[in-house]
Amino acid sequence: MTEPLLRVENLAKRFGATLACADVSFVLRPGEVLGIVGESGAGKTTLLRCLAGQLRPTAGRVLYRTRHEGEVDVYAIAEPARRLLLRTDWGIVHQNPRDGLRLEVSAGGNVGERLMAVGARHYGKIRNEVSDWLTRVELDPARIDQYPETFSGGMQQRVQIARNLVTKPRLLFLDEPTGGLDVSVQATLLDLLRSLVGSLGIAAVLVTHDLGVVRLLAHRLVVMKDGRIVEHGLTDQVLDDPQHPYTQLLVSSILPV
């Protein structure tokens, strides 16, 4: 049996008097996609930022199994080591592509600089690999030197996905990756994520309020309400046979998925 890649133990985050999330525990195995659903304000994004090394939790631990040094406590290691993990092992796809892209750098540069950050030096090889990734996310490689500003929202999101996958991370954090896009663009992106994550065997934590998205992408599902996990299980179990009153409400309030 494969060991967990990520272990979350009793994580809590407090902002002043507000408890954004509390008592969150789960494990994630290599290649597994975990969905986190719940209405806005349920603490999903806060939790994701705590998991991704971006926001120090008030209590609890986030343990990540590295390639060579065993399990590390993400907030006990030094800042440079944490930043290195972020470069070499993790990817973060933000809801708004503008938060995940550098707008003053070309589309190709946005993808290529991630390769350089993990040591790639040969210009021609980097450019070829970037072109290849633009093609994989269904962008015209001829636009490699154009700036993200000249792209539509859906295209920017694809650049962000290429930027995050080019270094073949082991763990991906996705925050509403299809939020704010029209339905046909959403379908394209979902199909893309599904096949890329599946074929590369990447583990992912996916935050969304869209149950159709988790049905398609997530193996397991966590339902959050008021910062706490109220239900978890295999995605189809939680959606087809919801147990908690809040999950039943969530599932019955939307069109069938």
């Binding site: 295999l234 087809d240 009153p245 019955s252």
Partner: protein, 235 residues
């Protein structure tokens, strides 16, 4: 293996009740079900509409979560109790041991029929081209015309979708199949094709549990019947 017809599924004291919080309703479906299914057998679930046949079948796939009891299936040289297994164990059992034919196909946007059918083989590590070739052979056998293979099945007729659904499951030689009305929207010709496929799998030694509303299908595929109405009366 010494026993040619080993027991593949062993269900004990299974209970399922739905609690619908918003409506303050409790729906007891069954309270104490137990049975075995051997390799090469097809157990037919019978009883009137709403008695709980689909609920039982979904429980056997660990799609519904029973309150009590065990669902042991033979897997990887041992037994796994699906009512108690960890999520990743359930996924592994579904990937390698149990094929479940739901009543309706769940279409995945933009994925072609060929790839949809090949997907379970790819998930088992088979080369994508080999998987696609096997998918095509089965689609052909199930009477899905070649021009449709490159389209997502969203626009297909009910009968076509049902056969794609069957192909997606029977493309893998699972030791166990669960079937929820797999011939419900098929004409006589296609029903005969599907029945032949099911009988072939059963004769190869697959253990099956099925719901068939068509009496002829039941007679040809089924080997034994579990009537849920009898159980309810006995309780």
């Amino acid at each position: 293996m010494s026993n040619p017809k080993p027991t593949m599924i062993e269900v004990r004291e299974l209970a399922k009740t739905f609690v619908l919080h918003a409506r303050g309703a409790t729906i007891p479906v069954f309270a104490d079900i137990g049975f075995d299914v051997d390799a090469g057998e097809c157990l037919v679930l019978a009883g009137p509409s709403g008695i709980g046949k689909s609920t039982l079948l979904r429980s056997l796939y660990a799609n519904y979560r029973p309150q009590r009891g065990s669902i042991r299936v033979r897997h990887g040289g041992g037994w796994v109790d699906l009512a108690a297994a960890q999520p990743h164990e359930v996924l592994d059992v579904r990937r390698r041991a149990i094929g479940y034919v739901s009543q309706f196909l769940r279409v995945i946007p933009r994925v072609t029929t060929r790839d949809l059918v090949a997907e379970p083989l790819v998930a088992l590590g088979l080369d994508a081209d080999v998987a696609r070739a096997r998918a095509e052979a089965l689609l052909l056998r199930l009477n899905i015309p070649a021009p449709l293979w490159s389209l997502p099945p969203a626009t297909f007729s009910g009968g076509e979708q049902q056969r794609v659904n069957l192909a997606r499951v029977f493309v893998v030689d699972y030791p166990i199949y669960l079937l929820d009305e797999p011939t419900a929207s098929l004409d006589a010709e296609n029903r005969a094709i599907v029945v032949a496929l099911l009988v072939e799998a059963r004769n190869r030694g697959a253990a099956m549990v099925g719901i068939f509303h068509d009496r002829e299908v039941r007679a040809e595929v089924g080997t034994r019947t579990l009537d849920l109405a009898d159980l309810q009366r006995a309780a």
